[in-house]
């Protein structure tokens, strides 16, 4: 095996049964006796290696590890040898030599988690790599959908989201969150529609098991979930995007929400730009599952850590 068991580098090829088992572990941890839970990973060492700044993912992994009793250490670009240009390989080997048993990596280059996992042999959890993947986000999004839609998770996971439609709208081209969800959700039976202008959603996206739409209103018709993505201004250079026009065509606002199916769940991985891809009233309104996403993030990441360190719970 090339990667240590317990690694989570991508959702591409992640079997539905494996997804089900991670979510089942999340459920078990949630209902576990708090005292037992708080020592589950005691004495275990987890390193957070963050080459890119992040509030919610980093804090959520860190709190998850601490809630299980693990010792964490944060290495980030502003405070360490990685700023001086030490290679990812050498940084990984140093962390391993210092006793890290698992590394959580956020990196601005796609594939960095695979490299780190190959070089160290340690279980690596991908906390977002370039424009590639953000697997823990996809899992927390899935759990949020399951809860909000009241999906029964008894049968085969391949049927869990059968008959459900998820519309992912926005800057798909640059979004690791979109990529991860678009690869994961069809495996659970969902119909996924990717939506956005061609500059942000290239035709190549058809290689995934998804539909593509350029018309948000049409895509929303009958949808169960509308997942909005942040417009990554920093990555738009060279692309012809008129932000006013973008908002007019693709923004989630009260009008569109009212047009949608009753019970339509609105999601956003954050950070949001209120007034651009989503209006504040919708983000704060009852259809929004944005805060729950954050809570599920903590729960799912606890499970990923337990799984990575090979502890049975």
């Amino acid at each position: 095996m090339r990667y240590a068991p317990g690694s989570l580098l991508t959702v591409d090829g992640l079997p539905a049964m494996e997804v089900a088992s991670i979510l089942a572990l999340t459920d078990r941890l949630e209902t576990m006796d708090p005292k037992a839970k708080s020592t589950l990973l005691s004495g275990r060492r987890v390193a957070l290696l963050f080459y890119e700044s992040s509030t919610r993912t980093r804090t959520s992994f860190e709190l998850a590890a601490k809630s299980l009793g693990a010792t964490t250490t944060l290495v980030s670009d502003k405070s360490s040898s990685i700023e001086k240009g030490e290679s990812l390989k050498d940084t990984g080997l140093t962390l391993r030599a210092l006793g890290a048993e698992c590394i959580i990596l956020r990196h601005n280059a796609g594939g960095a988690p695979m490299l780190l996992a190959r070089m160290t042999g340690l279980p690596v959890l991908n906390a977002g790599d370039g424009m590639h993947q953000h697997p823990s986000q996809a899992l927390l999004d899935l759990r949020t959908m399951i809860r909000r839609l009241g999906v029964a998770t008894r049968g085969g996971p391949g049927e869990w989201l059968r008959g459900r439609t998820v519309v992912i709208t926005g800057d798909i081209r640059h979004s690791r969150v979109a990529r991860s969800n678009a690869m994961l959700l069809p495996r659970l039976g969902a119909k996924v529609i990717l939506c956005g202008p061609e500059a942000l959603l290239p035709e190549e996206a058809r290689c995934l098991d998804v539909e593509i739409s350029r018309d948000f209103d049409q895509a929303l018709d009958g949808a169960d979930v509308a997942m909005m993505l942040r417009i990554q201004r920093e990555r738009l250079e060279g692309l012809e995007i008129d932000l006013n026009e973008y908002s007019a065509r693709y923004q989630m606002n009260a009008d569109r929400l009212a047009q949608g199916k009753p019970g339509l769940v609105v999601m956003h991985p954050g950070p949001m730009i209120r007034g651009l891809e989503i209006t504040g009233d919708v983000a704060d309104g009852p259809s929004s599952a944005i805060e729950e996403q954050v809570a599920h993030g903590l729960a799912v990441r606890a499970a990923l850590l337990v799984r990575a360190l090979g502890v049975s719970a």
Binding site: D12, K89, A109, G111, M114
Partner: protein, 431 residues
């Protein structure tokens, strides 16, 4: 020396059959049927029974990293790898440190002191420092042994610079060898554009980034013929797309002096080989989609592609063990070229051995105007490769003679194994 008992295949002289080859003073002295030369007194006999005996291979595109990056490769190690691959002549690219853009650096490179194991030639830079602005001194460089000019690794982007280069080199009868990439379209790109790049979240190079430059260069060759009456020679390096090949095909039909090369990795692999960000599948031009790979194969079969060139590009392990987007482009290729050509082109696509040899010896020798090379005709320089054309073997990167190991073909099955390489009558490799 008498090379005895083999099947001699020499496309240039039309020889194909059981012959013995007599070598005297570094030249082919006689090629005769079995037994005819038995009574000639020779110091050494090379037993080639059951083997194919052919002109030594010529690679018009290798990176030897000397001067400046000898931790990757040296002229001595790179040419040793060449010999192991059956090559008896290699043409070194100028992107060394410093860039080979002067007669002094050219002379230094070609100096026997460097320890080349096979014939070494070089293409100095088209522009000073390969910066794309000012032409190097073509005339002096030609007198000092340049066999063409290239800014490989970079395109000559400016129209007027390329125009002047083609005209100037054309007057000297030398090719401008172009790395066809419109770098204005490939900023931040690290692989082929398409579904694989989309899935991996990597920025992709479009096929147009290659074809646009090829089309532009062909237009310039055409204009130079019309306006200046000069038959300029454009050589397109490592062509990788159907679109560029189509442009080259049309240019040839129109009688323009346009030639091109294809690299073994481009006819063997597709962008799927990037897998989970394998930097050994990172090169430039990038591995393309299957339709482009098939187009390269079709071009090799129908003659649109003139020769196979390896673009041997050694890099140290630590340089490739980095994030995909940061890794340098290129793979080693000298020791796997024949094995891949006979497997993919020969076995999978029915190309006769004779045609493979044309692509690896006769044609590349012609592109860089090496008269008396790429053939076993009597009087030719005795550059010979002896190989077992049917032998299946597995390439072992750890045993490679190149200083670097950056290859996607480690432990890959190949067909056709070099058992001996003879350069100017001297055995330089024995497998």
């Amino acid at each position: 020396m008498l090379i005895k008992g083999g099947t001699v295949v020499d496309p240039a002289s039309g020889v194909d059959g059981l012959f013995d080859v007599l070598v005297r003073d570094g030249r082919v002295a006689a090629v005769e049927g079995p037994g005819v030369l038995d009574r000639v007194e020779v110091s050494e006999t090379f037993d080639a029974t059951g083997m194919t005996v052919a002109p030594g291979f010529v690679d018009v595109h290798v990176h030897l990293r000397e001067p400046g990056q000898t931790y990757k490769e040296t002229i001595a190690t790179g040419t040793a790898a060449a010999a192991a691959g059956g090559f008896t002549t290699v043409v070194a690219m100028p992107n060394t440190v410093p860039v080979n853009d002067s007669t002094a650096s050219l002379a230094w490179m070609l100096d026997p002191e460097r320890g080349a194991k096979v014939h070494l030639y070089a293409m100095p830079a088209v522009t000073l420092g390969s910066m794309g602005e000012h032409l190097t001194d073509f005339e002096s460089l030609a007198r000092a042994g340049a066999v063409g000019f290239t800014d490989d690794g970079k395109p000559v982007l400016e129209d007027h610079v390329m125009q002047a280069a083609l005209l100037c080199a054309g007057r000297l009868g030398l090719p401008i060898s172009q790395h066809a990439e419109d770098t204005r379209l490939t900023g931040g790109c690290s692989m082929n554009a398409g579904t694989v790049a989309f899935k991996l979240g990597l920025r992709g190079m479009t096929v147009e980034a290659e074809s646009r430059i090829v089309e532009r260069d062909i237009r310039l060759v055409r204009e130079i013929a019309k306006v200046d009456g000069v038959r300029a020679h454009l050589h397109v390096q490592h062509v990788s797309t159907a679109k560029a090949l189509e442009a080259i095909r049309r240019a040839k039909e129109d009688g323009l002096h346009v030639t091109c090369e294809a690299a073994p990795h481009h006819f063997t692999l597709t962008d799927e080989a990037v897998g989970d960000f394998d930097t050994h599948a990172k090169m430039n031009p990038p591995l393309r989609a299957e339709n482009d790979r098939q187009a390269v194969i079709a071009g090799l079969l129908d003659g649109t592609v003139d020769c196979i060139a390896t673009d041997h590009a050694p890099h140290a392990a630590h340089e490739k063990e980095v994030e995909f987007e940061r890794a340098p482009n290129g793979i080693t290729g000298l020791e796997t070229a024949l094995g891949l050509a006979l497997k993919v082109l020969g076995r999978e696509h029915g190309m006769p051995v004779r045609r493979v040899l044309e692509l690896m010896s006769q044609n590349p020798a012609a592109i860089v105007n090496l008269a008396g090379r790429g053939t076993l005709g009597v009087g030719a320089v005795a550059d010979v490769v002896v190989f077992d054309a049917g032998r299946e073997w597995t390439f072992d990167g750890s045993k490679a003679l190149s200083k670097s190991r950056n290859t996607p073909f480690d432990e890959v099955a190949m067909i056709g194994r070099v058992v001996g390489t003879i350069c100017a009558g001297r055995v330089v490799y024995r497998g």
